[in-house]
Structure formats: C-alpha cells, structure tokens
Subunit: 371 residues, 2 copies
C-alpha cells in the first residue's frame, strides 16, 4: 500500500472508531470492546455470542452472577459498578460454561482462565505504574541440584542496584500460591511496581526480591503437602540462595533476609522461615495454608530462642478467607507458645486484591534493625 | 491437617489420578485434562460444556474445524493427529463462540485468546528447553523521551555475559508483530531458548537481544502505518539504543548491530534498518509487512552505497502467508535495484511456527564479518 492510501485508511478508521465505539465495537478491527472502564468507575462487559441462550458475568465487585442482555447482533452486554479502584477478577458464563473474556489480554490462570479488569483511582493507586525510577525483573533458569531439574526464578533488583555495586542489598524471598508460578507475583501481584513506588516514596529500604517456583515434583498438583514443602525447602536453601548470592550483590546476614508467601507459599514461608532462623529473621504469611499446628508447635518448641532470633512474624488474613479458621488456630498456637508476632486481620477473601495490599503493608516493616 | 492425614490424602489422590486420568478428568482437582499429548504425538482435546449443542476444535495440524463428541457427563472430546513436533495453536468453538481452552494455562493473545499445545520431538526440538547454560531475560521499564511515556523492554543476555564484563557483545534488535507486545518473542517465540541452544551448539556468536515494544501512541491499533513506524524509529534510535548502551556492555559498532522483525516488526526492521545503515548492517524480515515499495525505492536510491554497508538483508516468507505477494514485490524491488539479499521462501503461513524456525536460521548468519 502506498503512503497516500495508508493516510486515507487511517483517517477512515479513526472516524469509524469514534462513531462506532459507543456501540461496543472498535471499527478498525471490527472487534468487541470489553471490558470498558468508564470515568465514573462503572465497567461495561461485552461478549459477541449470537448462538448463546444465556450469558452471565461473575465479577468481584458485584453480587453473585449478573445476567447480560443480548442485542439484535448477538452482542451481550452489561454495565456494573461503580467499582472500587483495584484489579478485579471476572469471567463470563455462557450457557453454564465459565470462560475468560476472549478479547481481553489480561488473564490470570488459576485452574481455569479468569480475566482481569483494572479500575484506576483518582490518584494513582499503590499498584499502578507511576512516573518513578523503575527496578528490573530478571528471568532466570537455574539447575536445581536438590531436585535434579531446571527451574524458573524471577528476581527483582531496585532502581539504583547497578549504580551501587558495593552495596549488599537485603533480600526478600517472596513465595506464590498453589495456583501460581514464579511470574505471578510480578504479572498479577505487581510486586515490582508496588516496591518501585514504596522506594520512590522512601517508605522502604531498597531490596532485592527473589521469587522462586514453589511446586516440586515431590508435591501434588495442589502442592499443599509436607513433601512438597520439604523438597521446596531444600531447593530454596541449597540451590536458590547460593544462586542469588553468586549472581547478585546481596547481604547474607540473616538480619537482611525476609521470607513471605501467600496461601501455599505462606505455609512454606512459615515452615521454612521458622525452621531456619539461622537464615531468616523476618517472616510473613498472607492468607497462609497454616493447617499443621503440630508442626508449628515442634518448630516453636523453644520460644525464647525463636523470639531472640525473630525480627518479625507477620500474619495477615481476611475474615472472608476460607483459610481464616486455620490462621486463627495458628495465631492461637503463637499465643500459647508466647511467640511474638503481628496479627493483621482484615476484610477480604482469598484473592490477589488482598495480597497486593498486604505486600504494600509488609515491605515497609522490613530490615529495620534497631534492636 | 496433620501429617498422617496428609499422607492418606496424597495416597488416595494418587490412586484416583491413576484410575480417572483415562476418563479425562484429574481426580485430585476434579479438573478436565486438556490438551493431553500422547506418546504417539496424537493430541486429545477436552471441554466440559454440558449446556452446549455443538463444540468444535480448530487446530493448526488438522484440516478446518473438527467436531467434538459429547459423553453422558457433558464432557466433549476429540483425539487428533499425530501432529508434527511443534507448538500448535488451537481454539474451541462452542455454539459458534470461539474461545481458548479454559483449563490450559498456555495462551497466546492475538485480538482474541488462543491456546497453545506443545508436541515434543523424539529428540529435543530447537525451541525446547535443554540441559544447556541459560541466558537471562531482563524486564525493563524506561522513560521514552521521544514518545513522552514509560515503555516496556525485554533484553536477553547470553549465558556467560556476567563472567565477561570486558566483552562488548553484538546486539540483535528483535521486533514483534502487530498483535504482540515486548514479551511475545520470549513467551511465545522462545527466542531466549532458541539462542541458548544455538550458543550451546556453537552455531552462533553469543549476543545481546533487545526486544522493544513496537506500538506507539502515533499508530493505529493495528500499527501498520508509516506514522507508527516513524515514531517507533525515533524511540528505538533516540531512547532504546542509548538505554541499552548505558546499561549493558555491548558494541556500538554498526557491524555488530542487527535488526529483524516479524510482520509489522518486519516492515519496521526494513524501514529502520535500511534507513539507518550508519547504525545497522544486518537486516532481516520475517513474513514482513513490506507493502510500501515507493518507500523502499527511496531508501534504496543509492544501491551501491547500500550494498557497501549492508552485511546481510534476509527476507523470509511462507508461501501460504497472506503477505506473500507483498514480499514477492519487495524481492522484485530489491532485484530491480540490484541490492544484494537472501530470499528465503518456505512452506508455512503467517504464524509463530514459521517465525521460530526463521529465528533459528537467521541468528547463526549474524556477526560473521570476514569481508
């Protein structure tokens, strides 16, 4: 195509886009627009499914399942909200089949694909990318000797990391949940964006964040078993920690090492952290799978020694979380053993909206060694 | 849950998995198994959709659209193949609605979500992760002064990069297509895996690979217009190249710079590469959007000067590609101008199976400066 023809096509497309946008279809591509976030924070969801008899949307900011309406072209739609500024999960239910929004590239896989819609705040939210210095996320593959396989590993370095080669940075080991992989804390959890923003606001010390893969061949698909935790612990301590220390200028002082995880990863951070207080002194658990009180009583059998070495044990859980009872029991165990800790009971269920907030609250507490 | 209970649950689950796997449902999670790649390279696709009247699968290795069969539980399935060892794209069509496989986490978004199924070779394929040294992929955000926005940038460094701080590595700028983003060449294209394998086999010089984002606010959604290419060119030359040279130990010699892209990115690599032979001397185009022959005749107006500076101009296109005619015309323009080039006409359509192969063939040709 010649340049003149391009210009005409572009102009034509631009006019069509402005005309047809309001019908829910982008003229340039003929493609359905979904989701569409309005300035008043209401959200329109659309699905082109002329052959369907019933289409519903399930979204975190609306009750239950909401029926969508079909127009004469077979385009189903509904407008819901206003929604709280946040990253919300949604899915369509088409004649009983639950699917992600086919035209939305933002997907979180958790057993099945779900879609994400980001509703921005009036001011930028803590998880929104802002005009600040940005760190770097490094995607590694390493040979795990303890597991005999190659594994993925994500590592975040803070904005000034390369400019300060003589600084030994503190390290946060950040563990994912049972339905996640090593990229989920950055792709869905926005950990790098959250910590970029905290550092820019001087709310936290700059740190390196290590995000390993939490499932092992020893575990089940769900991964919530002691064999998986034990295999993960070996991989983390014998392979990941040495890999990080060979490749990054980080502190190897236990007072500069923290470990925290969500759900399955929260159970791992408690077991690995409390079980290795010679290596870690800051431990956190977000909506953690902490069912094994017998194990924790064993790990805490010498509470004085634990309290002497532990800088922080932070336990966050939402009241609507299906693991809330388990976390209550874990907190009772801590109280019974007189192990110092911070109980952070909040609203919210077992979901990323909660875990992004917890990370934003937990990180500023770390590596303040004034005792 | 106590440890004993865990063991029982694990044993029970393992027995159930082995019993129920053949029914297409994993017992541990109750979840449908799809896709299932058999040792003979046939593939079974499954979808649980009791409310659907008709379910079909569209997959690259089978003709057209294949109807699936429904069992009494509403589980639709079909077994197809054997398939060539490759990464194949597929989707389900449920009463006319085309969707990705809800239970398969491997997704490629291109206007709509599609699923991927990897069929391994008897020996590992060139795009399969092998037991070799691995490079690192770095995820950057940089402030583009030319565009006035923050942009994403993926950069691959080869396995020995950190061990050789005095080496100035050659750089390949690798551009994506209109439906892609800066992560697609690694996530879907496996560029890092392919080059890891080539380096391990000593088929290529180690190199740094820079994968910028190819869309700009100046462009349309599709991005195939000269305004987008011009804005991208400024961002690449004024922002990306200096960013890379500030942050990586790379050569700034034009003989050590290559540029290649696919589809929209192929059009960009031709326009930016041939338009800046003071910066690049190796240029490649995979299934490229090279429609603007008037522009190319202008860029090639002094063929002797072009031939003197160009180390390689490599043009790959499949005969089934919808851009095949445009590439034929581009090759005619090159012939008419007597500009030296390599025409690499192959089987295949406009798809990632072709572009992974092209990358595997193109990279070993680079940075051999014996002239």
């Amino acid at each position: 195509m010649r340049r003149r023809e391009f210009s005409c096509a572009v102009l034509f497309a631009a006019v069509l886009v402005s005309l047809v946008w309001q019908l829910g279809v982008a003229a340039e591509t003929g493609q359905v627009v979904s989701p569409q976030v309005h300035p008043d924070r209401r959200v329109t969801f659309r699905l082109h499914a002329p052959g369907a008899d019933r289409v519903e949307v399930r979204v975190q900011f609306a009750e239950g399942v909401q029926p969508m309406s079909k127009d004469s072209n077979g385009l189903w739609s509904i407008t819901l909200g206003p929604a709280e500024p946040d990253i919300h999960v949604y899915s369509f239910i088409v004649d009983g089949l639950e699917i992600a929004d086919p035209v939305n590239p933002s997907i979180k896989f958790w057993r099945t694909s779900k879609s994400l819609v980001e509703v921005p705040g009036e001011k930028p939210m803590f998880f929104e990318e802002q005009r600040v210095d940005h760190g770097v996320v490094h995607i590694h593959k390493y040979g795990s000797k303890s597991l005999g396989i190659t594994r993925g590993l994500y590592i975040y370095t803070p904005p000034n990391y390369k400019k300060e080669p003589d600084v030994k940075y503190p390290v946060l080991f950040l563990l994912h949940g049972s339905g996640d992989t090593e990229d989920t804390w950055t792709v869905v959890g926005r950990a790098n964006v959250i910590v970029d923003n905290l550092i820019a606001q001087k709310k936290t010390a700059p740190m390196v964040i290590v995000m390993p893969y939490g499932h092992t061949p020893a575990g089940t698909v769900v991964g919530l078993d002691n064999r998986n935790t034990a295999a993960f612990e070996r991989d983390l301590i014998d392979d990941v920690v040495p890999f990080v220390e060979r490749n990054y200028h980080v502190s190897s002082d236990r007072k500069n090492r923290a470990i925290v995880g969500l759900s399955m990863g929260g159970g791992q951070s408690v077991s690995v952290g409390l079980g290795n207080l010679d290596l870690f002194s800051w431990v956190g658990a977000f909506s953690a799978a902490v069912q094994d009180q017998e194990e924790y009583r064993r790990l805490l059998s010498d509470p004085d020694s634990v309290n002497a070495r532990l800088e922080l044990l932070w336990v966050g859980c939402g009241r609507e979380d299906f693991l809330f009872d388990a976390n209550e029991k874990f907190l009772e165990t801590l109280k019974a053993k007189k192990v110092k800790h911070v109980a952070h009971i909040t609203d919210g269920a077992h979901e990323w909206r909660v875990w992004r907030r917890y990370l934003n609250e937990f990180v500023p507490l770390l590596f303040k060694t004034d005792k």
